[in-house]
Symmetry: C2
Subunit: 154 residues, 2 copies
């Protein structure tokens, strides 16, 4: 499977979030040795009443538990939106090999848009990064979600 294929699966997770009235961001964690999906997750901050329940955090926690490992050295993380500072730091702590993200987050992105966490002296493990994969689709679902939200609130 290609990066685009895995991102399409992450986008399916984002669609689940949309249907659950959560900000539509999805993530999949892939074992690069086998190519298999280790964990899938979508944002659950609202219904979970847990501000830390971003797709990335949930995928990392599920993956660590499933593999019964303390780190995820051989795993790549695909996420539809550029990780925030919380998720970027968690990705580094988890020793993720490579992060592939879709849309850029001009508001809170901490990989390329702001902070550039992985390049900061506070970061002690730097994953490889590939950005902008399936950028348009990953961004469009967020635009659609917030448009629907605004229409409901107006």
């Amino acid at each position: 499977m290609t990066d685009q294929d895995y991102m399409a699966l992450a986008l399916k997770e984002a669609q689940k979030a949309f249907q659950a009235d959560e900000t539509p961001v999805g993530a999949v964690l892939v074992d690069t040795l086998s190519g298999k999906i280790v964990a899938k997750a979508h944002n659950q901050t609202e219904h979970g009443q847990d501000v830390t329940a971003h797709a990335e955090i949930l995928a990392l926690r599920k993956g660590l538990k499933k593999l019964s490992q303390k780190r995820l050295w051989d795993c790549d993380l695909y996420v539809t939106l550029e990780p925030c500072a919380m998720c970027a730091a968690a990705i580094s702590f988890a020793r993720i090999r490579r992060v592939v993200f879709g849309a850029f987050d001009a508001k809170g992105g901490a990989v390329e848009s702001h902070i550039r966490f992985f390049e900061s002296p506070a970061c002690h493990f730097r994953p490889n990064v590939k950005s902008g994969v399936n950028n348009l689709e990953c961004g469009q679902i967020l635009k659609d979600f917030f448009k629907t939200k605004r229409a409901k609130n107006s």
Copy 2:
């Protein structure tokens, strides 16, 4: 109770972490309207096999669950070590009123030592910050822990 008193309780949590062979960092979450402790937690990254299980994240998640709230507007968080980028962002997402921390983290601190997350354009809610409360005790337990670790490994 004073900031020093609450920090002393956070330090007790750090001592529990030490006894459990976890990096000794502790946190307490306080409801400033009542002065009552809402949640207490210590680092559980190793035994919990969860890189996100920093004391702050666990205290925030416990507090949100206990109060059945989506945000923690009226709460202050006391933590023995300067929050990292993951925890600083989570603190901001949770709308914590004030963060009080003990020791500075020259390696990964994201409040004053590096990044200064709360002042960055990626941060959209800035809590008040008080640093260096019971600094010496909060730092000493970490020094003792890593000294013990090094002795075991040598």
